[in-house]
Structures are given as structure tokens and as C-alpha cells.
């Protein structure tokens, strides 16, 4: 398959999907000798100035309308959901500290995570389960999803400002006890 044709294949797949498509799945639709990365790069460049833009969200790719054209879609706008402060903060903690356990989230907020908060974020598919931590009890962790990145117009967690600053403040207060 020529590179030109590879571009066309990805274009067709992306144009007909409303959700981000994982890179590895896109790759399956191309012959082995085609480098998916370079095709994506080309497409991204091609769409940069157009009415539809190609975005990377984590390990997935998606096409979205250009942000400056939002006035065209007034009728398509959905009413913003009212997301509780607890859920917003929990989401921010997961985004900044992932992978993170429920206990760690509670430590930062100083309150236990109400039932329903995790459920809501899971239902929105903004968070997912990560690996278990190797700390005692092997608690399960949470991570953010590509869908989260897409929703908030981020291409990776690197786009979050001040990650290092927050990491430096640390996750565990226990460290202090061991000084």
C-alpha cells in the first residue's frame, strides 16, 4: 500500500468514528510495512488548517471540528452537566497523580470518597482501573482514559500544567513521619 493510500484508509476510519480510535487498532488496518506514526503526522499536518482537526488523545486518534467554529453548532451543544465539586476534585487528583488509589485520593481531599463519585467518573468513561499498587493490601488504582483527554481537549497528561509541582508536594503525608 502506498503511503497515500494508507492516509486514505485512516481518513475513512477516522471520519466515520465519533470516538477516539486506538493507534494499535488503526495500525491493524494498514500493511506491516507502513509506519502508522508517519501517516498520522502527515494527516495531522494536512488537517491543521482545515475545518476538522486531527487530534492525538493519549494512545488514540480522533477527528474533531476546529474550536473556532463552535458558533456553527449552537443547536448541537449539550447542556453542561453539573458535576459536583467532589467529582471535579477527584478527577483532577486522578489526572495529576495517576495511578492513584482511593485512599490516596481521600488523603488529599481530607474526606472519604462518597459512593457515586467514582461511579459517575467511570460511567463518563473519564477514569478506568489501573494496576494494583504493590503497597500492602495491593489496592486497585485509577487512571484517566483517552476519552477524558479528548473531552478536555488535551493530547496527553503532559498538557496538564504544573504536574511536577504537584508531584513535589507529594502524595503521601507519611513521608514526613519518616524523616
Amino acid at each position: 500500500m502506498s503511503n497515500k493510500n494508507a492516509e486514505r484508509v485512516l481518513e475513512a476510519l477516522l471520519f466515520t468514528s465519533s470516538e477516539p480510535l486506538p493507534l494499535k487498532d488503526l495500525e491493524k488496518n494498514l500493511p506491516d510495512n507502513v509506519d502508522v506514526e508517519s501517516v498520522i503526522e502527515k494527516l495531522q499536518k494536512h488537517y491543521e488548517t482545515r475545518g476538522v482537526n486531527l487530534k492525538r488523545v493519549g494512545n488514540s486518534i480522533v477527528l474533531r471540528t476546529a474550536k473556532d467554529l463552535d458558533h456553527l453548532f449552537l443547536t448541537k451543544k449539550v447542556t453542561r452537566r453539573n458535576i459536583s465539586r467532589a467529582a471535579r476534585e477527584t478527577l483532577a487528583i486522578i489526572a495529576y497523580h495517576q495511578p492513584v488509589t482511593k485512599l490516596e485520593i481521600e488523603e488529599i481531599r481530607g474526606v472519604s470518597v462518597g459512593s457515586g463519585t467514582i461511579d459517575l467518573l467511570m460511567d463518563l468513561e473519564w477514569i478506568k482501573f489501573g494496576k494494583r499498587k504493590s503497597s500492602p493490601g495491593r489496592p486497585i488504582t485509577f487512571q484517566i482514559t483517552d476519552k477524558f483527554l479528548d473531552y478536555f481537549d488535551l493530547s496527553s497528561t503532559k498538557d496538564l500544567p504544573g504536574v511536577k509541582e504537584l508531584k513535589d508536594l507529594g502524595l503521601s503525608v507519611k513521608k514526613l513521619n519518616q524523616k
Binding site: 471520519f15 488529599i108 474526606v111 462518597g114 478506568k128 493490601g137 478536555f152 514526613l176
Partner: protein, 258 residues
Amino acid sequence: MDNSKGHDDLTKSELHVCLDGFEGPLDLLLSLAKSQKVDLKKLQLGILADQFLNYLRDQRYKFKLESAGDCLVMAAWLTLLKSQLIIPEDELEKDDSEKINELITLRLQRLVKIREKATWLFDRPQFLQNFFPSYIYRDKKVIKEHFLIVPLGDILKSYLAIVDKKNYTVPIDANEEYLFLDKAISFIDQKVKGSNVSVSFSNLVKEVHALSGINAKRCAATIFCGILEYTKIGEIQIKQSNIFASLELTRIRNVYKV
């Protein structure tokens, strides 16, 4: 986009607030601290402690039991800090109060930061607000199988639903109180890992039993499990001089984490 209306009510009604309008002791403390209008690092902890304790006094009848504990811990810290400010004599205890001071400041800073980030996040351009997906019609042809999107949460919930339906009994008697492993672990963490000397197992059990009122044998069993977890990852060492002698627990230092 979603079918999860009604969630918000759920989250709101089940917030574990122990204080009117505040989400826990840290939230309250932060808003009190903000009233001092200074850099968090230069907080007047004495004033803050007074304010916090007064607030608790006024609100004590509104406590929800599960979070009262958190408030009391915070209150205890602040009281200690305050007492240190009045009589800063004993060197060792002064060290303690500095640690607590640092700890509270750190936790407040962290909460402030994460709030900023949450606001930043929700102020961003959003999907279905500022940019929109494709609705291009696919001629009744559905996308290839490996683009199938099934969230893991749905699978897990299916399982939960079956287990619920079948009334699978989790072998725990709801009328009895149990010490859960995570509680035991955080207790061990405090007592043993925060200490430089060895701690005896039976004292730990007594302490937890006294604090929680949970059956002592159950405390012993759970704490023992907790200790095993810690020995497994090599953070705690158990010593016993001979059979039936008391178990002595020490923190293993110089644990190099990879």
C-alpha cells in the same frame, strides 16, 4: 453522551460531610486559613487552631460518626500545636510540633493546588461545547470488530449485579463489627513505621481494641494479616525470642525502593 442522570444527586446526598457546608476538616481548615489572608506557609496556626476548635464545638451535634474521627484527629493536632506555641520547652516535642505544622501546611497547599487544577480543567474547551464529533453516516455498515468499545466498568458491574441478585452472602455478619484490613494497615503504618523502636504486637492489639471497641480477637487477626503484608514487602520485621514470647515489630530501615 450519557445515560447517567441522577448521579449528581447521588454524589451530593452522600457526601461525607461532617461539618455544615464543608467537605471535611481539611476543607474547613482551608477556608479558615484563607480568612487570615496570608501565605499558607506563614499561617498563624495558633489562631487557626482556636477557630477550628470553636467551630467544632458549635457543630458537635451535627457530626456524622464516620467522619467525626477525621475532625477529631485534626483537632488533636491543632491542640497540640497550640500548646507547643505556649510552652515550647521540650526539644523532642518541639520537633513533633514542627512536623505537624509542616504536615498541615503541606496538606493545605496540596488541597489548594488540586482545586486550582480542577477549576483549570473544567474551564477548558470541552467536547460537545467547543468541538464536535463526526456524525458521518456509514451506510448501515458497522465498524470492524476490533473497534468495538465496551467499557470494563460495564463488565464488572454486570458481575456485581449477578452477585447482588443471587444474594451471595459475603461471609461477614453485618451486626458484628470488624476491623478491616485497610484500617489495620494504616494503624500499623502510624505506629510501627513511624517509630524508631520496636513495638509489641499485643500492645498494638490492645490499643486498637480500646480505640475501636471491636472484639480483641478480631483485631488481633486483622492486625496480624496487616503485619504480614508489610513483612511481605520487607518493611517490617517480626521477632520472637522463644515460643509464646511476645512478638516484637520493628521497621526495617534503608528500604531502597526501585
